[in-house]
């Protein structure tokens, strides 16, 4: 190990502290640093290192599958990283207690083990790499305190101090190191701020390209976006229901339009109590239908997509469910994939009575939309008539497009849409509808969610993708809120035209990942026995792989025959000659070559010297000649050896008899 005492142990303790696995870190540190007090070292053969390496590889794969199945891909890598010291610890511990103190490179790679080339001369010391890995794993735990930087600097300093060049000035070393630590600290502050600035810029640049997580309080529209509005093809929501699915899934409702942003004013999120297996959102209705929905919530919190008219949700694994006055439902402390049942009816659930916010018109749009409402003769009429006229207005002469050409920077994008281009996407239609209804005196709200239009045969479920994200209006009819979707029919086809050719394959992968996640995050009763059985089976397999042929006699036998591979010539009768002569007290010594022994035996007499030499030569060829012996020579060896044995047998008896 090329690290100073305590450095690796310190790194492991630090990792344990940061990752919340202090006990594991302490045990590993003790196991590795304990080599300084344990004098015993073991001869660990390359094949045993290979098996330990296999163990690490299997652990790594198992954790990778687990991490990617249970987390958002962007977090899975870091989640996997946290456990890496555990994954590679078997190798490092084995290296620490091995005689060589290094690991053959071929042990780490299966293809090198299978290669015909002799890689045994290449070996590496894993200590430095493992040290770096521990620090990275500690960083992946993301405990954001200054202690992290201090610990990294201290541990790195300890590692470097032990390896500083001979004759290097301690003062110069310290001065450089402290300067680097200070520079690094300033750099990390700058880097963090740089990322924040870049993210702000990127958000401005690609807004609409990647939709941020839904927020119940505000949503920024892409009304002013220039160029093609790209939407993700990934499946966001899965829905199974008996019969036709609800055409829309509601996620959030907003009541105030400000600039290019919709906000939910006076609509705080209030926790709702749990009754039995679910949460009641409104009193139960007759003729209710049930839909099972699933969606991912990588952050452990988010807004739940629901069919309009949902009055109860059940079987949701959440610590807390909150509901806003406008009807958005938020779940906290949930697994990365949530599955829940929603009961809903066609009649509207209680979304709260309209108030002044639902009639609010921003100053810069008020005049133009009021003028338009007047031109369309929208008031004074019954709300239902007004809604009908608004539908008719947007149904004629308006077109759907996700592409928008460069516009006059001074012009308002919404007014440009309504009065000039008459081409836009669902946010244009929904926002204009809401403002026009309000201008006509009908309370209205802006709703975001998903359109349900694609049935996946693979999953046997309805799926909503990122590009199915939709916006529409809610209008108050005087008695209830009515969904008003003025976006021209056929917008789905426009969105679908940009789908990737690899989509079926990606969907297959997404489905597999979803099933694994759902299995993992599903009810404990479904998962427990299977998971533990799998872990037990894996563990048993690894133990078997590790211990197979590794019993003490087997290792000793292997060591004895090492270098000869399968021992050739082990069946030579020559060994019988050796044993026979050993019985006469002429046994071959460990340090004696065959030729030297033959000379000694010949000098001792009582043996056919010529035959003995001939047999020795044949045996040597049988044992070591790459071409071996032909059948005739083999037979000669056998006969010579048997003849020598038979010659010795009487003399040995005589000798024994004589001694009596």
């Amino acid at each position: 190990m090329n690290l100073s005492a305590g450095v690796l142990g310190g790194a492991l303790l630090f990792w344990g502290w940061q990752s919340g696995l202090l006990m594991v870190g302490a045990l590993l540190a003790l196991a590795i640093e304990g080599r300084r007090w344990v004098g015993t070292r073991w001869t660990i053969l390359p094949e045993h290192f290979g098996r330990i390496s296999d163990l690490s590889a299997v652990l790594f794969l198992a954790m990778a599958v687990y991490a990617y199945a249970t987390s958002d891909p962007s977090r899975a890598f870091l989640k996997l990283s946290i456990w890496q010291p555990v994954v590679f610890a078997p190798l490092v511990v084995a290296q620490a207690y091995s005689v060589e103190g290094r690991i053959h490179l071929s042990a780490l790679f299966v293809f090198l083990r299978r290669s015909d080339h002799d890689w045994s001369k290449l070996s590496i010391d894993l200590a430095a790499g493992f040290f770096v890995l521990c620090l990275l794993a500690a960083g992946a735990a993301n405990v954001r305190t200054p202690a992290f930087y201090a610990a990294v600097v201290t541990l790195t300093g300890a590692a470097l101090w032990g390896r500083r060049p001979a004759g290097a000035s301690g003062v110069a070393w310290a001065a450089l190191f402290v300067s680097a630590a200070a520079l690094g600290w300033a750099g990390q502050l700058g880097l963090n701020q740089l990322q924040a600035a870049l993210e702000r810029r990127a958000a401005e640049f690609v807004f609409g390209v990647s939709r941020p997580e839904a927020d119940a309080n505000r949503t920024t529209t892409a009304l002013g976006h220039i160029g093609e509005l790209q939407q993700s093809d990934d499946i966001v929501v899965r829905l199974t229901t008996e019969g036709a699915p609800p055409p829309l899934l509601r996620v959030a409702v907003y009541n105030r339009f400000a600039g290019l942003r919709w906000e939910a004013r006076h609509s705080p999120m209030i926790a709702i109590g749990r009754y039995g297996p679910g949460w009641d959102l409104a009193p139960p209705r007759r003729g209710a239908r049930r839909a099972t929905l699933s969606t991912s919530m990588p952050g452990g919190t988010g807004l739940l997509p629901l069919p309009p008219g949902a009055f109860r949700i059940e079987n949701l694994s959440a610590a807390l469910v909150g509901r806003s006055r406008l009807g958005a439902l938020r779940a906290d402390d949930v697994p990365p994939v949530v599955v829940y049942d929603a009961h809903y009816t066609a009649s509207r659930a209680a979304d709260g009575a309209p108030d002044a916010d639902d009639l609010f018109l921003p100053n810069w749009h008020g005049a133009s939309f009021k003028k338009l409402a007047h031109e369309l003769k929208l008031e004074p009429r019954k709300p239902s008539e007004t809604i009908g006229r608004v539908r008719v207005f947007f149904g004629r002469g308006f077109a759907y497009s996700t592409y928008r050409e460069a516009r006059d920077p001074k012009a308002d994008p919404l007014e440009e849409f309504v009065f000039k281009t008459r081409t836009g996407h669902c946010e244009h239609f929904a926002t204009s509808t809401v403002l026009l209804l309000r201008a006509a005196g009908v309370p209205a709200r802006y709703v975001t969610g998903f359109s349900v239009q694609e049935f996946s045969r693979l999953e046997n479920a309805w799926v909503a993708r990122g590009r199915h994200a939709h916006a529409w209006a809610l209008a108050w009819t005087g008695k209830k809120w009515l969904e008003v979707d003025t976006t021209p029919a056929g917008w789905e086809d426009v969105e679908a035209s940009g789908a990737s050719a690899f989509r079926p394959m990606l969907d297959g992968l997404a489905w597999f990942s979803f099933r694994v996640s759902r299995w993992w995050w599903g009810p404990e009763g479904e998962r427990g026995p299977l998971a533990w059985a799998a872990v037990a089976l894996l563990f048993a397999f690894l133990v078997w792989r590790l211990l197979r042929g590794a019993t003490a006699p087997a290792v000793a036998a292997k060591l004895k025959g090492r270098g000869a591979g399968p021992v050739r010539g082990a069946d030579s009768e020559w060994y019988g000659v050796e044993r026979t002569l050993a019985a006469r007290g002429l046994g071959r010594q460990d340090w004696e070559t065959n030729a030297a022994w033959v000379d000694r035996v010949t000098k001792a007499g009582g043996v056919d010297a010529a035959l003995l030499r001939a047999a020795a030569a044949l045996h040597a060829r049988y044992r070591f000649d790459p071409e071996g012996l032909d059948a005739e020579s083999r037979e000669r060896l056998r006969k010579a050896a048997l003849s020598l044995i038979s010659q010795q047998a009487p003399s040995t008896s005589q000798g024994i008899a004589g001694s009596r």
Partner: protein, 440 residues
Amino acid sequence: MNDRLVHFFLRGGGRFFPWVRRRFTPVGQTALAGLLASAVWGVDTNQSMAYQGFTFLASLLLLAWACARLRPPKVKLSRRLPRFATAGETIRYGIAVENTGGRPLQGLIVREELADPRPSYEAFHAAEDPPDARFVWLDRFLGYSRWRRLVEIKTAGTEESAVPDLAPGGEAVVDAGLKPRVRGRLSLEAAVVAEPEPLGLARGLTARVMPESILVLPKRYPVPRLALEGSRRYQPGGVALAASVGESQEFVGLRDYRPGDPPRRIHWRSWAKTGRPIIKENQDEYFVRHALALDTFGAPGEVFEEAVSVAASFACSTLTQDSLLDLLFVGGEAFCVTAGRGQGGADRLLEVLATVNPCSGSSFDRLAASVLRRREQLSGCILVLLALDDERRALVRRLRASGLPVTALVVRPRGAREEREPGVLSVEGGKIAEGLAALR
């Protein structure tokens, strides 16, 4: 894979990695790897704290690098290089290092800089995949095996040698090692002295250009001493042609004058002693002369190199004090280099073999004609062939038919099927030593 793309990346890597090895110590290289890993781990500064490790390591390496650049060691170097090396064998030689600066130097290392070994795209594209067990399928798929082979041809294994501590004005001779991989002329461009900076991460370098070259002799295998059955043959021109200096002739004895004896052979002192004309009698020049014919009519590659090695092995083992050995091969023209009996030793043949190249613009007939022309003077012949086709078989048969003992060997590529021909030993590339052991 697209060869141009692969060549581009390998060429870039072939520049970057040696640069890293020169500029950074092993500890510094680990820090660089840590820097790279922390950049990956910490790419999102909100998700992981690894970015703090990144900035710290980057600062350390930056300061270390700046320190190393600012204070390179001031030294004077000279090299004491031998004339020859053998492919695959390490040679030891000295490099003298003198501290010409005003500060003591500690922890220095010195190493050789060889000429840039990176092959051109054309050479890379034309190269064949070497049959080497070191390379796995991925190496072959990516073309790395070809690249590595071409680089190894042009370079040699160099060592980093530690220099003892040097006081100002002090000098030390360092034991350096060089292991050429293939025969031919190896150029050494410069020697570089590196000194670690105080953090021990980067190295300050001082290079001294000292262009020199060394002739790398072919690799040799142990071969049994061949007892070719041929008898001594009369050599026209006698020893005069075999000896390097003078006109010494083999003296047999004295006899009485016979009419017609040339007067210059009269032994005057014996005549004076006996009173009758006495003639000095010389032995006719009969001695053993072998030919070692190397087939050069093949493509460059392992088989050709192995054939040269086999020829070199015979050149060393066959030559005795009392025999001549003619090395026959065809380069631009047909060459015959003779060694033995004062004509030069085996080293002369090895020097020639170190530079022999495959012959592409001619046919095997030229070598056959060259050997057959010398048949009368030869006691035996060793043929080292690259293939076993009709022309080569015909040569073996004609030589044997003339009563000349012939040892013929053909080198076949690795894994190639053995073509059996009576009296011709086939040896496989990569298993030459085992194949030659069968010669008894």
